[in-house]
Symmetry: C2
Subunit: 349 residues, 2 copies
Amino acid sequence: MTTMKEIAEKTGVSVSTVSLVLNDRDEGRVKSGIADQVRAMAEKLGYKPNPLARSLRTSKTRILGFISEEVATTPYAGGIILGAQAAASQLGYMLITVNTDGEDSEDEEITALKRYGADGFLYAKMSNRYTDVPESLTSTPLVLVDATDSRGRFPSVEPDEVHIAYDATTRLIEAGCQRIAYIGCSEPMLAQDRRLEGYRTALEDAGRGYDERLVRNVLNNGPALQAVSDLFDEQRPDGFFCFNDARAWYVYECAARRGLTIGKDISVIGVDNHRVLAETLEPQLTTVELPHFEMGYWSVRKLVSMIEKRDLDDIATPETTAPLPPLDSPIPAMIRCTLIEKGPVAQRA
Amino acid sequence: MTTMKEIAEKTGVSVSTVSLVLNDRDEGRVKSGIADQVRAMAEKLGYKPNPLARSLRTSKTRILGFISEEVATTPYAGGIILGAQAAASQLGYMLITVNTDGEDSEDEEITALKRYGADGFLYAKMSNRYTDVPESLTSTPLVLVDATDSRGRFPSVEPDEVHIAYDATTRLIEAGCQRIAYIGCSEPMLAQDRRLEGYRTALEDAGRGYDERLVRNVLNNGPALQAVSDLFDEQRPDGFFCFNDARAWYVYECAARRGLTIGKDISVIGVDNHRVLAETLEPQLTTVELPHFEMGYWSVRKLVSMIEKRDLDDIATPETTAPLPPLDSPIPAMIRCTLIEKGPVAQRA
DNA sequence: GTGAAAGCGCTAACAA
DNA sequence: TTGTTAGCGCTTTCAC
């Protein structure tokens, strides 16, 4: 690894000059001829700054910590991490992903990261809910991802849950569905509340009544299948909006048992949390893809703008291959989601 | 953050002495009274070494890089990462997880990690196959996880694929299945070859013939469902061993369409790569759980033993909550897998 | 046994 | 406009 010292020697200047030039702080301080020489030499020797040494001096590491409980158990976090990494590498940061399977290891991992000098943290949950931020995180720049600080102290970047449900429900209405059910989540959760709201609003905007008999909020377990089964028998819905993969699968399963064809007899739109829909039921159902990538991407930009105390609107995207959101938009807190029509949605008279 | 300097001042000794003591290199070099004082003061001030400063001096960072393409897209990597993190934190290392969605970003991320001074790398694939190690990784200690170096230069830690298939097939035989099918993978892959071998050996050990008409190697796509469907009609198998989730789902689907009950008419054992089985089909199928956690765990130990050029048999597990493999065992290259009987396996006469 | 001193690679006052 | 100096927190000879 070449050092500034080597460059200085080979160019016949001092290290400080090299430092100045290579950090682009040479404007009006170093003669441009010299500066060019230095840059050329750095290029020639393939100089790369040693981030450790720099950090030791500046006490800024350009390291970002990504904390999540779910990296390990769902592919859900995947897109978020990809997006976060894209933004981080774009901005010259390194993203360190840490998963804290339990409460115990959490603080431990966080302090480890802090000792390594992380400049800031992302704290990601797996489904939008009010969240208590661990105490150890409150003293550093922090952005919540797919979560909302229960005490309102920290900014967050989340999917636009109301719109998810509104769009899905509207799609079902437009397809001609008459009795549209919502299979929700019975745990208290922001995402659930807002999706129910979007579902309801869509119905009302279309001049339909909201009928709570068509709403079943269930858990991810045995009784859930029964509840959905009952819904089929009692209400005979012809359209379903489902909170997530598992719930969409219950509908799929119930339909199969009754000989109902999806796309003909009933239409199903599900939110694809765990990629189960994408991976197995793909041809059968229409899915809403959560904006994982975008959430990761924008939360990193938000975090970095907090750390560097400036807007990032000037930072363009030079050589990234990943699909990036338009960079001229300001950093959003809510992100619209994409409805993906992979499977058939029945068109009725 | 307290520094050694502070401890030195408050104790009235020099930094070098403090360094000696706090690194346990004081035996016979520092009077034990002094040493105790230093330790007490360090404890009192809550001293934590600054890893950056240390690394700058020693050019060892105790950072491990975990490179994978699939962290982002499957939950498969999750267990591996958990295991790797458990081992790393046990051994005083920090694990940096990096996913390289495409070929392009891979080298970039690796060099970034190298500049941060990673002491070694884990290179993980998503299913056991011969793998070309990226050139940029060949100059640092490296362990492959769930993959085999195509040029045989680097050690790897993998599931015992033959046994997976042998055990699953044997289980089906013991349950009384007469016509046991294997739904495999048509891509060339170590895991596929070895599982086919295990399937075959189990049949032969049981005095059964191997009938290649009962084997269907398919891809993860549309025609696959048709192929499995044909298998049902042509061969009427009553037992299935499936390469992974998606393939198990094809069987599940075909059975459902024919009104066959799993656990009564047919038995299905699938390898749970993507947690789809665990999350949606859990009550229906018997799954083989790949030893993700263990793979991560043991590969880190292997890597660290390479880095530190010593055995790790003396390192015990003090305060980890995660389930750890027994620590007295030597580092294994192949890891046995667990067959999980979640669903019914038909018992026939 | 202990401490002084040098240095890892870099940045930033301050001098010149 | 450039170089000198000091120092980030730590480890490691080498004198004493």
